[in-house]
Homo-oligomer: 123 residues x 2
């Protein structure tokens, strides 16, 4: 993949993550490693991150249901983890995955299927 660097990444453990900043949750971006597409954005608590580490499949925390959520558990649209990247502030994760089926509950490959109109003003 063209976006990969050749330098080894710094390795972190769950204890290094800053869950405090957002009340126990980290925002998580999921990206398909095959296409580079950004698939979705969701949240994970510590348990979800640990389940992701241990199972090799993406887990999140559903804020609406107040429950641990294994992505694709009912639909079969699992996200197999290739790597979990951590940002510079250690408060955001990037799940790099192989997506089975589609990521979006609407049946589309990615949740980002709508576009905001851009209206650049002349100066």
């Amino acid at each position: 993949m063209s976006e990969k660097t050749t330098t080894a990444k710094i390795k972190l453990s769950v204890a290094d993550l800053d869950f405090e900043k957002q009340g126990g949750l980290l925002p998580v971006v999921a990206q398909d490693v095959s296409t580079g597409a950004v698939l979705m954005m969701a949240y994970a608590n510590q348990e979800a991150v640990q389940k992701t580490q241990e199972s090799g499949f993406a887990h999140y925390w559903s804020r609406s249901r107040g429950a641990l959520w294994k992505k694709g558990e009912s639909s079969g649209h699992l996200q197999k983890i290739v790597e979990v990247l951590v940002d510079c502030d250690q408060d955001t994760l990037l799940y790099r995955v192989h997506q089975s089926g589609v990521a979006c509950h609407t049946g589309r490959p990615t949740c980002f299927f709508q576009e905001l109109t851009i209206k650049i003003k002349d100066k």
Copy 2:
């Protein structure tokens, strides 16, 4: 780009975005269109989204400074907008950009330069 679909995307305006869910802010993922790399995650309020639409450069809301933030205004590391995508819930944005210089304040190309250790347990 391989992640692009051939179907036209649904067009939305700022009025369609759900700013209420997170107290006036939307999470924003920034992605480099040239490499596919996920660069950073930040937040935007309505003014930041409108400035992004009107100027063609990525604007965010800095939660730490409590201020509108034009990315790269002091460093020169601007993000020129190619398109702004909206997710299915209309509460998350994806800025697809041409990144000048580097995205991360550490000098690295992307903020996601660290990796969480994965320890898949045998069943």
